[in-house]
Amino acid sequence: MAHYVTSPCVDVKDQSCMQVCPVECIYDLGRNAVIARDECIDCGACVPACPVDAIVHELALTPLTRPFAEANAARWPS
């Protein structure tokens, strides 16, 4: 499992998540951040750190949020 960045991050990219990630697996993808799925350890520290609630655990993805989340994650090589 892993955590995903969803669309509210776009053009906000606050980057607080990067300051709390203990394995530094959150990267800058231009207009928004991305979590490297194969590096994420699922600690969840980034979830409350995000001011726009953009980071979501895989099990909390909805039909509305999943398409962006998966497409975004796929843009990062793993």
């Binding site: 499992m1 607080s16 300051q19 709390v20 990630c21 203990p22 394995v23 530094e24 350890i41 699922d42 600690c43 969840g44 520290a45 980034c46 750190a49 979501v56 655990h57 895989e58 099990l59 909390a60």
Partner: protein, 455 residues
Amino acid sequence: MSVRPGADDPRPGPRVAVVGSGPAGCYVCHHLLRRAPGSAVDVYDALPTPFGLLRYGVAPDNPAMKSVGTSLERILGDERVRFFGDVRIGIDVTLDDLLSRYHAVVLATGAETSRRQPIRGDELAGSHGAAEVVRWYQGHPDSAVRPDLRRHTAAVVIGGGNVSVDISRILLTSPEHLSRTDVPDDVLHDMRRSRIRRVHLVARSDLSHLRATLPEIAHLADRPDLAVTLHGDQDSRDDATPVASVVRDLSRRARPHAPYHLAIHVNQVVRAIRGHHAVQAVELASTMDPDNAGPVVELAAGLVVQAIGHVAEPPADDRLRSRDGRIPNVQGQVLDTAGAPIPGLFVAGWAKRGATGVIGTNLRCAAETVATLLDRLDQPLAPRREVDPPKPYVDWAGWRRIDRYEIRQGVRREAPRVKQRSRQQLRALAGNTDDLSEPQSTTDMRSPHDHSIRA
């Protein structure tokens, strides 16, 4: 680096003592060395081994989380950092000693004491606090309790947070699975003989207010040998959180042949623990029935664990008292019992915030404490005399010897390592390379430590 007692230290930056080498203490080092590269940091730990709750808190079946150890190791392995393991502040060294030898002292001592609620029957054998049980299965050197897993097929774990879920899940893990984790041999021995197949997790809150996090619940979803059921619950239309819907989905998953069963009871409190000398059952009452008018639900069980939170205990010092489970502070500056700042004394991690938040939370928490610390330093820095550790301690090279030994012991179990429990053995492994060759009968599954732990 060797210690030169009495000599003035020639290094230019602040000399800082960090008490506690868990994630919070390590992240204090990390930020200090980044913001003040000339710093010299001495990290003290009451245990012979570093990493605190990463080693003794993160559940053994969560190897991904344990991988944070790689980055913590890099921090403590920095040449500007020294490790003094097996040194207790307030006992072996006083806090005043530290304050006089360093420009600043940071307490990163965590929150180690289990909260206990007065429940009728709590004094019965088989009733434990969470920390006791966690210390047992984590192989903590100071573990004083060895839970009896053979008395009954069911156990009750009170609390709806991550620790409660961890304890429940570990009690319901097969010895085959556990043998591939880092648990000590004596734990594996006990789990092979455990009769526990069902754990009742009893939470006061409703499903949408469980304190457990989604990643924690996700670990339950990863277990095909575990059936989950839900009791005392509200209407599913009231589910307001991802945790609530995932737990409900789990409970709808048909697992008729699963050997292990986790029963999650929400909106319930344990009203009494019953038994003669030892736990035999608990009585549940609904939180929605304050007058106890409804029928009493009774669960048979041989083990009860209270996992309802932890509180910080500061090192022995007249000026320090914990309040609301943490050491009173403003942005990491420690306050005395009268509310005045104690010069040079800071706090980070659970000791600062209370027992809440995950490993990464400590990164930002430590950054705040380090900013406060650097802001309060008197410039120019007064010279400080070198510390004089009071007894043999475990240094970084000693930990590396323990580390290599434990990793080698893991090979026979296909485990990342096998933790060694006893303080004596950890000391021997750290200090005496001659003792490295099989100090005790390690191929024997009956643990050499069996006799040192009170049953």
